[in-house]
């Protein structure tokens, strides 16, 4: 077993374990903390995948921005936390069953499919290439611009929705 494989298991275990912790946590706030840990595990996997940019973005965007945003939202709706409600709805066992079934199906599909993989190393300038592709008119320049419009619209939309009337 190579070092990479050991690291994969380490980060994979962190991500998966934290994810399970997230969905089983009794308090929403704890769930949010578990979620941050899961994001961290995923960031580690990105490093293993030789996508350091995404590992960093994972830390900034998910753990930083989205994590903080979610914790804010939990604080803003804290009245909820005082109520004693079951954390799951009535269908939780069936949902769990089906999710497990889906996992079995997916895993089976993944396993039996002969993937045509390459062992080529990732190019050293992959981030460079990503940047060029994103602004290349022959590539993703238009979707890229549209994505920025989407973000602005989401921002304005979010402000509009939560504004006190």
């Amino acid at each position: 077993m190579t070092v990479q494989q050991v690291l994969f298991f380490l980060f994979g275990a962190i991500a998966l374990g934290a994810a399970i912790g997230m969905v089983t946590a009794r308090k929403v706030f704890h769930a949010a903390l578990w979620m941050l840990l899961a994001f961290f595990g995923v960031a580690g996997l990105y490093v293993l995948l030789e996508a350091p940019f995404f590992a960093a973005a994972q830390l900034f965007v998910y753990m930083g921005a989205i994590g903080v945003l979610i914790i804010y939202a939990i604080m803003l709706t804290r009245g909820m936390m005082r109520q004693r409600l079951p954390r799951v709805n009535d269908q939780w066992w069936f949902a769990g069953l089906l999710a497990a079934a889906l996992l079995v199906v997916l895993a089976w599909l993944v396993w039996q499919h002969p993937w045509a993989t390459t062992t080529a190393a990732a190019p050293a300038d992959s981030l460079n290439r990503l940047g060029l592709t994103l602004v290349d008119p022959e590539g993703f320049a238009l979707p890229f611009e549209v994505a920025s419009v989407l973000l602005v619209m989401a921002l304005i939309g979010a402000v509009t929705i939560v504004r006190e009337r």
Partner: protein, 692 residues
């Protein structure tokens, strides 16, 4: 920057101003009515200007030159796998001429709306909608691929829904909107299938890559499709034509268009003259090389045969209904169906240029007629029943004269009107290619002239038969102005397409500009299309006789001795039950209601009752019941065998499970629905794994 580059930029920009107008009105200026209509008209005027610049410049180049080097811009949209999906614009001769008439009629309608919609509570919203509508049409016109065409096509579908139901307080209006939306949807879905099929076969949807490439067309024509006996080209052609049947209201999907008259009259003019219904025909004209590929001499391909049959049938069929209608706008609606059918039939027999020509002239005179009828409706205080009108000639002179011109153009009054030239060309081709189509269309022409005269006489001549008509007044200049402009086009536009062989006039003008310019759109194919080699006076004479005969007949019945108030339609007396059938549009709405709508509603109810309540709930209740019975049985057995505490509990657990399962299925909660989705996903995955 060369002129070509400038034109490329202009073409890209053409659909943009109305869209911006739409966004700005909806987002910011909803409250200011004058500002809203200024923005909408200003934006439309800008588009008009750009469209005209493009049109007049490419005219200078000539059709063949434009065919060789069309104005074309493409941007890659999304690279997906090996293919890059491109979006772009293209101007070839057909696009140019379409831009020309669409921008003129749209601008006229915009200006006219200021007068017509005056005082409406949702005035700004109206201008926002028609701006979006104009975007749809202009975008569809300049689109260079089928997907983009379809997107704009659907934008128009949405706008037509919104606009037909604009006065949604009226139940008839919102019903008409839903009817229009659902009916055209049938055609659209089939059309989308055609597009998908075409894409799967060629890997592209670009017009240039499909229609201008002999090899691709030939490949499509010889490849058999999934339906035996049809080539891929024929199958795709038939599927696409279904889109036209829906959008251009051809039989059997024509039922939505007359009901769409519930919308404001400028909308009727826009949807039923200048834009949306033309879009249906425009699409098949555009795709004609694909529809016609594999044509041998005068024998049409399967899509062409379908078009010839449906077109000629609808042309006659709709004309007969129009004869017996009393609502001023409904007459026009049926006449629109009938005229569009002329174009479809013309394409069906291979008269490509004639179809395009009639598309343009029809847009002018039908927009004129609709706007004229709107002027009558406003002038006569929202009276739409022609039986209540009469005597408006003196009271509304401008409207009368322009309406007369429009009506004569519709009837194909010889020489003087545009409608004559286009209709005559269709008839001349039909005479040469298919006598059955010719006689049906000629009979339709006779009826057309008749009902047009009937309409003019009932509306404008004689004495007022109703309170409203008595106090009618001429409408303001914002409404009559567009009428006059459109009337000029309805009169003179025909002279750009006078056949060179036509006696006297043909020599005088000497050049059939329209034929050469628009004909160039299909390149070489034009010369392979069959057509009359020389001038033939017989179809001309028949067409003139039909037009004049119909008008005279109409005059004899309705004009010579105008109807008095309270008098019944003389046609109703003579035709008796036939008239009743016509007046009720052959009871097709009732038929559809009986055959499609009732069973659908019934099925939905039945599914709800039996499947949902009976089957699903029944199964779940059954499970619960079974559990309880088992539990009780268990209990009964166990009470005597062992002490029964646990057993009692188990029955309860099973019962509770059943109740829970039932809650899972029908609660209205999104998580439960998601769960069901997942359930079926897993089930299908299981099926896949087991059997494939």
């Amino acid at each position: 920057m060369t002129i070509r580059q400038l034109l490329e930029i202009l073409t890209v920009l053409i659909p943009l101003p109305p869209f911006l107008a739409f966004a700005f009105i909806v987002l910011f200026f909803n409250r200011w009515k004058r500002l809203s209509h200024s923005i909408a008209i200003g934006a439309m005027a800008l588009s008009f200007l750009m469209a005209q610049i493009v049109f007049w410049t490419v005219i200078g180049w000539g059709g063949e030159a434009l065919y060789e080097h069309p104005i074309a811009v493409q941007v890659p949209w999304l690279p997906s796998g090996d293919e890059v999906l491109s979006m772009g614009v293209m101007v070839d001769p057909l696009t140019a001429i379409t831009l020309f008439f669409v921008s003129i009629t749209c601008l006229a309608i915009f200006i006219y709306s200021v007068g017509y919609m005056h005082g409406d509570p949702r005035y700004s919203r109206f201008f926002a909608y028609i701006s979006l509508f104009a975007t749809g049409m202009l975008g569809l016109t300049v689109a260079d691929n089928l997907l983009m065409l379809f997107i704009f096509w659907e934008i128009m579908g949405l706008c037509s829904y919104l606009l037909i139901g604009f006065w949604f307080e009226k139940p008839s209006a919102y019903r008409a909107a839903i009817k229009a939306f659902l009916t055209t949807r049938i055609g659209d879905v089939i059309m989308l299938l055609g597009i998908a099929y075409l894409y799967s076969q060629t890997g592209t949807l670009s017009f240039a890559a499909i229609l201008r490439d002999e090899a691709v067309l030939h490949e499509l024509a010889v490849t058999p499709s999934v339906i035996s006996g049809l080539s891929v080209a024929a199958a795709v052609g038939l599927l696409l034509f279904a889109g036209t049947v829906g959008k251009s209201a051809q039989f059997p999907l024509h039922v939505w268009l007359p009901d769409a008259m519930e919308g404001p009259t400028p909308v009727s003019a826009m949807i039923h003259a200048a834009t949306m219904v033309s879009a249906g025909v425009y699409m098949v004209v555009r795709m004609f090389p694909l529809l016609a590929v594999g044509m041998e001499g005068a024998v049409g391909t399967p899509p062409m045969v379908a078009m010839a049959i449906i077109g000629s049938f609808t042309a006659f069929f709709a004309a007969t209904i129009a004869v017996a209608q009393d609502d001023i706008k409904r007459v026009l609606a049926y006449s629109t169906i009938s005229q569009l059918a002329y174009m479809v039939a013309a394409l069906g027999i291979g008269a490509y240029v004639a179809a395009a020509f009639h598309l343009v002239t029809h847009a002018f005179f039908k927009a004129l007629l609709f706007l004229g009828s709107g002027s009558v409706i406003i002038g006569a205080h929202h009276e739409q029943d022609m039986m209540e009108m009469g005597g408006l000639r003196k009271r509304m002179p401008v409207t009368f004269w322009t309406f007369l011109i429009g009506g004569f153009a519709l009837s194909g009054f010889p020489i003087l009107t545009a409608g004559f030239w286009s209709k005559d060309e269709i008839l001349a081709y039909a005479w040469h290619l298919n006598p059955v189509v010719f006689w049906v269309l000629a009979a339709g022409a006779l009826l057309t002239a008749f009902y047009t005269m009937r309409q003019i006489c009932l509306t404008f001549l004689g004495e007022p038969r109703g309170e409203h008509a008595e106090h009618a007044h001429e409408t303001p200049w914002v409404m009559t102005g567009p009428l006059v402009v459109l009337a000029l086009f309805a009169l003179f536009f025909g002279f750009v397409g006078v056949p060179e062989e036509f006696p006297v006039l043909g020599e005088l003008i000497g050049y059939n500009w329209f034929h050469h310019f628009v004909g160039a759109t299909v390149g070489e194919l034009l010369h392979h299309l069959p057509g009359p080699e020389s001038f033939n006076p017989v179809p001309l004479a028949i067409s003139v006789v039909a037009a004049l005969g119909g008008l005279t007949l109409g005059w004899l019945v309705y004009g010579r001795r105008p109807l008095k108030a309270g008098e019944t339609d003389p046609l109703a007396r003579w035709l008796g039950p036939v008239h009743t059938v016509l007046k009720n549009k052959y009871y097709i709405d009732e038929l559809y209601h009986f055959v499609f709508i009732r069973p659908t509603v019934w099925l939905a109810g039945a599914v709800f009752r039996w499947f949902d309540r009976g089957l699903i709930d029944g199964i779940l209740h059954g499970i619960a019941r079974l559990g309880e019975i088992l539990g009780i049985a268990n209990r009964w057995v166990h009470t005597y065998v062992i002490d029964g505490g646990v057993v009692d509990g188990s029955a309860k657990v099973v019962g509770a499970t059943g109740r829970e399962l039932r809650q899972v299925l029908q609660t209205g909660q999104v998580q439960h629905y998601l769960l069901q989705v997942l359930m079926f996903l897993c089930a299908f995955a299981l099926l896949y794994i087991l059997f494939f």
